[in-house]
Amino acid sequence: MKKKKMTVFMAVLSAAAIMLTACGGGGKGGNGTKGAKDTLTVGLTANPITLDPYNTTDSPASKVNKNIHETLVKYDDEMNIVPCLAESWEITDDTTYIFKIRQGVKFHNSEELTAKDVKFSFDMQKDNPHAESVTGMVDFDNCKAVDDYTFELKLKKPFGSILQHLTQAVTSIVNEKTYTENKENYGSNPVGTGPFKFEEWKKDDFINLARNDEYWGDKAKVKQLVFRIIPESSTRAIEVESGGVDIATKIAPTEVKRLEKNNKVVVDLTPSFSTQFVGFCLKNDKLQNVKLRQAINYAIDKEAILNVAYQGIGLVASAPMSPGHWGYDDSLPPFTRDLEKSKKLLEEAGFKDGLSLTLTTDEDQVRRDVAEMVQAQLGEAGIEVKMQTLERGAFIDAVIQGNLELFILGWSDFGTPDYGLALVNPALKGAGGNMAFYDNPEVEELLTKAQASTDDNERMELYKKVQEISWEESPYVFLQHDTEVTVYSSQLKGFNIKADGDSDYTKMYFE
């Protein structure tokens, strides 16, 4: 009797096990396993929040979205503005842009793109909190579709980098009919004009896109584009090594040495537009002192931090914008370490006997390593640093409210100096980007002037001046410009990646 019960128990257990294994089989979507060489699989860091381009500025979402939706203009490989859905454009006066819309472009639902869709797409930005940089500048009421293939964009005031802003996923052009009919579910069922069509999305797992055979431009070489969501950097790298994915984005610098030894994979190092820094919150009276900030800047050894914490991957920085950026001022050298000078400045600043400051970071391991190095280096200069780690959300909150003293963070730009220099823009204190709460009427005036100008040479001069002032006044200690680490299969041909981290997947194929 007892034996029988036991057998029943064991049988139930094994039946449950078999059931569980059985129902798991049959992977959804043609996920890129070995051999399927017309499928390109890309490892993403996180699940996109939504594929509705207007409802997020989240970076994984934009990576996927740029294959489905297109914008009026886009960046080429060298980050120059080139035509996309707009065949050409004309600037009739400082605030009027006339775009000629490309003819014969079809949405994935076979509807043809007209200027009406463009007008509709712009109207969607009117109260969109995700597109603030655009919403504040565009005069929506006076934008119009002149005819089926002409769109007139009116600005409230001159805005030199409007075209750069129009490359962003949040200004994607959607099909008016589909978007209005299907607004609720658009985020999980997008319809664009891009080189790939949306097929399937299993959240936190994968997104399948299929080649758009009706595409107006060069059609993609692969049939399927799959984005797999793999949160762990090490796992993404191992997946490329084992052939599970073809491209893994955002690999940790610590993985590079190991991966470079493997001839099955290629490690790509592309300088990006993001910069890491130690910020000073100038809401503190102590940190208002320029000499103290300069003393700290001279005490920090950026070279050592780059070599140890970032494994030598990146470039020592002197300004918020990276060398590849058109607004970059190459005449400003990075502050090299000079302890004597630092101590002298500290004395001049009135801190002869040293002082104590708190340095805050988020939980990111690399940033914490940087913080430890900064702590030791400042200690040598006679500045006692207390370290504090906050959870990411709480950290960002504290930074933009100006509740900290020193903090370590990064800033990414998408190719427009207005955005790159937001870090020092007195008009954008706190959440807008100026997390140091830096104030200087001259800088504000220069930046306002630059924003309004459409003359690139004039803008460049103004931006240079701003960079010089901020170099001198040091509201931040710029540590390094990041280098984007991407690993891809050595069988993949046509790999490309731009400074903003985007790739053109249509050019990639397998031999």
Partner: protein, 322 residues
């Protein structure tokens, strides 16, 4: 028995209510503004304020908590995710099968490995088998599961190329994650089985069984193991509960779209509704597993069954007297 189950189900209500209030309060007072996180660091204060207004995040604590509980009790509505706008229940149900499968397979692995090693080391006390099993247990308990997971993928996917490194697109994908998780929890099952069995083996009725001339195998499997199983079942139940909520690291390492990853992502984004719903769901599953374990006790040990029955009878008598 049914009455016992009914009573236990009723007792879950205060537990779950407690979980709701606790998680809600923690999330409410955690620094970090969901509206700000949703719009990004660059958005203006006005836009963030407007979103707060829209999502009802400006209302006082008690109003929000009251509304939350009311919606769950009256409409079975767990709210919507701030980030995606999707109903929280959909988000959870989409992920739960993966987590359940991972936990079940891992428990299966740990049962098979833990039980057999536990029995072997108890019956061969102080032999090399016992020493090996004890060493294995020590290793299993002290090795962090995410590290073991990474090492396993490096070995089996990158170097040997036998198994896929991550994802869940077929049976091959379901070998490494349950093995890593299962071996981790097998250690505690093995130790529990060993000590519990060693205790039982020394009892008089086992000596009697041996004296009757029964084979050693029969003595152990039929007579001893059954009585040694009670503490083991408790451990397995606990492990299952822990695996349901605690396989977050393994879900990340193997990129499995489970509940743990949903909750962790939601915590980072202060997506309160998803965190609350997710934790509530896990608490509910944990309570069910516990109930299941209690019911299992009764089937394994007739003494407990009779206790349950006696409890009912006593209750009846008391009510009659009143």
């Amino acid at each position: 028995m049914l009455k016992f189950i009914g009573k236990r189900l009723l007792m879950m209500i205060p537990v779950l209510l407690g979980v709701i209030i606790l998680v809600f309060t923690i999330m409410f007072y955690t620094p970090g503004d969901p509206a700000r996180i949703m719009l990004g660091a660059g958005a203006s204060e006005e836009a963030v304020q407007q979103l707060r207004e829209e999502k009802g995040l400006n209302r006082p604590y008690f109003v929000q908590l009251g509304d939350y509980i009311k919606n769950i009790v009256l409409h079975g509505d767990f709210g919507e995710s701030f980030q995606t706008g999707e109903p929280v229940l959909n988000e959870i149900l989409e992920r739960f099968p993966t987590t359940l499968k991972l936990a079940s397979l891992s428990v299966l692995v740990s049962l098979i490995v833990g039980l057999s090693m536990g029995i072997l080391s108890a019956t061969h006390q102080y032999s090399w088998i016992d020493k090996f099993a004890t060493a294995f247990a020590l290793l299993g308990v002290s090795m962090p599961s995410f590290w073991a997971g990474l090492m396993a993928t490096i070995l089996f996917s990158s170097i040997l190329g036998w198994l896929p490194a991550s994802g869940s697109y077929g049976w091959k994908y379901w070998i490494l994650p349950p093995l890593v998780l299962g071996l981790h929890s097998a250690a505690s099952i093995m130790r529990m089985t060993r000590s519990s069995l060693l205790e039982v083996i020394r009892q008089d009725y086992i000596r009697t069984a041996r004296a009757k001339g029964q084979s050693e195998r029969k003595v152990i499997v039929v007579h001893a193991l059954r009585n040694a199983l009670i503490p083991v079942v408790t451990v397995v139940g606990m492990q299952f509960g822990v695996l349901l909520g605690g396989s977050i690291l393994i879900e990340s390492v193997f990129a499995l779209p489970g509940l743990g990853r949903l909750i962790i992502g939601a915590i980072g984004k202060r997506d309160r509704m998803v965190v609350q719903g997710g934790v509530l769901f896990l608490a509910l599953s944990f309570s069910f597993v516990n109930l299941l374990v209690d019911i299992l006790y009764a089937y394994i040990d007739p003494r407990i069954m009779s206790q349950y029955k006696a409890l009912n009878k006593k209750k009846k008598k008391v009510s009659k007297n009143v």
